[in-house]
Symmetry: C2
């Protein structure tokens, strides 16, 4: 794997990133000034871009394979939240040094995930700088089928996929170097290899009234969905999916905190209109991952908090908030 001379900028691109794609809609990929792509005439283009920074989005020392996976996964998660079908990606890699082993692992993590979702890497940039990775993804959606955050209406039921909080718990396991056995491994995996819910998003695009991905914490993100929809929400705490892994390492208060405000889940948070619920629930047994009904959209009331947490049917106060990069800056 290791070559004697560290690869230069153009060798990095050709050796680790320029792979021939099977996609016939890539008319020109890596190697020219820009990529040339063909969007199906009956589709809309969906575009997202996310950046991850060492020490902010993943701990320093994280295995390069996980970083490569994460950089693409967090972007595919945005497409999933729109109900889109991923197609192409561009990758910007700011690297402190040209390390062949690191590049091999990083590119493997990236390409393995890309391959599973039939995503072609079509361009980008490689520069010397602090470790900062930006990925831009492009996908398609049928006209008028895009899932937005703004379509929820009072009476809609609120669902979430997977088990929010497990990723944040996994990060805590890593950062505190907890010896967690199998449960610890499951949680670390949840943090290190988030799975974008692309198939679920495709299923939801004709069923859900609104959707978003949960990246900054369930409670904060539900608030954003409510803001976009001009509604409020009741979150039934008793319904939150129970993690089989978190209680082995954390007390009940920590588990609840992870579930409500832990970031990096990359699960889908979505709403289904009451009349579509039977149709959706009939599908639920076949969905991967399982989806859980956690509350209901309500009318917005100026005197009331946007997201009201209920326990045993009674409103409770929960001290937590979503992630803001510059909060208290």
């Amino acid at each position: 794997m290791t070559s004697a001379v560290p690869p230069g900028e153009f060798e990095i691109i050709s050796r680790y990133f320029a792979r021939r794609s099977a996609r016939s809609d890539v008319l020109l990929g890596i190697g020219d000034d820009a990529a040339l792509l063909q969007v199906p005439a009956d589709r809309r283009l969906v575009a997202a871009m996310d950046t991850i920074v060492e020490g902010v989005h993943f701990p320093a020392g994280t295995a390069a394979r996980f970083i490569g996976h994460r950089a693409l996964a967090v972007n595919l998660s945005d497409l999933a939240a729109m109900g889109a079908e991923p197609a192409w990606a561009l990758l910007s890699l700011s690297l402190p040094e040209s390390n062949p082993d690191w590049l091999q692992e990083f590119s493997s993590g990236f390409h393995d995930l890309a391959q599973r979702y039939n995503v072609a890497l079509v361009g980008g940039d490689t520069v010397k700088g602090p470790l900062v990775i930006t990925v831009q993804v492009l996908g398609f959606i049928e006209a008028d089928h895009a899932l937005t955050r703004g379509g929820a209406r009072p009476g809609d039921f609120i669902y979430v996929s997977g088990i929010p909080g497990e990723s944040a718990a996994g990060l805590a396991v890593i950062q505190r170097q907890l010896q967690g056995g199998t449960a610890g491994d499951v949680l670390q995996h949840r943090f290190n290899s988030p799975e974008p819910r692309v198939a679920l998003g495709r299923t939801l695009r004709t069923l859900a009234s609104a959707a978003m991905d949960v990246s900054d914490g369930l409670l904060g993100d539900l608030g954003k969905l409510c803001d976009a929809s001009g509604c409020a929400a009741q979150l039934e705490m008793d319904r939150l999916p129970v993690s089989p892994s978190m209680p082995a390492l954390f007390d009940a208060a920590a588990v609840e905190r992870f579930a409500l405000s832990g970031g990096d889940d990359y699960e889908l948070l979505f709403t289904i209109a009451a009349e579509r619920v039977p149709e959706f629930e009939a599908l639920c047994g076949n969905l991967e991952p399982a989806c859980t009904r956690i509350g209901r959209i309500t009318q917005r009331d100026p005197g009331q908090s946007v997201v009201q947490c209920l326990r045993g049917g009674r409103a409770v106060t929960v001290a937590t908030s979503g992630y803001d990069h510059f909060a208290g800056a």
Copy 2:
């Protein structure tokens, strides 16, 4: 301009970046998980992404307005080199701190250029981290009209727009804090506010056989164009456009070095087939900036360097090379 409390992540986006666009093809812009865009059915999509890093692509302390301009300009330059019409951009901003004055200036530099080219900012990401800016641009091109690096053929004439080297000379003026009077101001402006050659690219798309933008130095970039086209080139040094500004501050050797290997020009380097030259030359008087014929594409010969420099019709050796971020890493 300055608010008492530094803006948080979501306020940064809404206050400085979320502007309503006049483009009707932006179905959903900033604020959801991804943007929703409509590509004209008869066009191909052109996608480029470039990153700029403080201390690498611009000196620490550069005015934020210039950084915002540069981040978009270097990307529009890639679209120009393909002959594409710009449409949309996504912006990833990794920032050490939330500074309202900086953000105001940065966003003004970005938006002013975007507005001139009718580019809508449709998404992106704002994170805390070292100062690294990535922009991704999307544009359109008519089917089969894309200008690539690979279309040059022996006998084609080589042209370059503007005056390569002035930008690198401008950077030298800034870094060495030279007192250069008007000439120094012109050169600094060339570095700080590169103008993407979008209109020229659109003109060339049906005229040129190959094109690229000059970002890593004329000689190195001409080599890349030759590599992509499977050809070689003769560069006539006597024909290089003469800068009215560089000689006021630098000796002849430095001027030549800037012209041949100085980066950051963002001019277009392109080739015109001999039979199209009269048509092109007839247009030349109206082109902005002026374009200069600087050599000819030749057959590739294994025993000969890809780019041969001629002075007074005789081959000369020039010690210079293009920019590689990890050269000698």
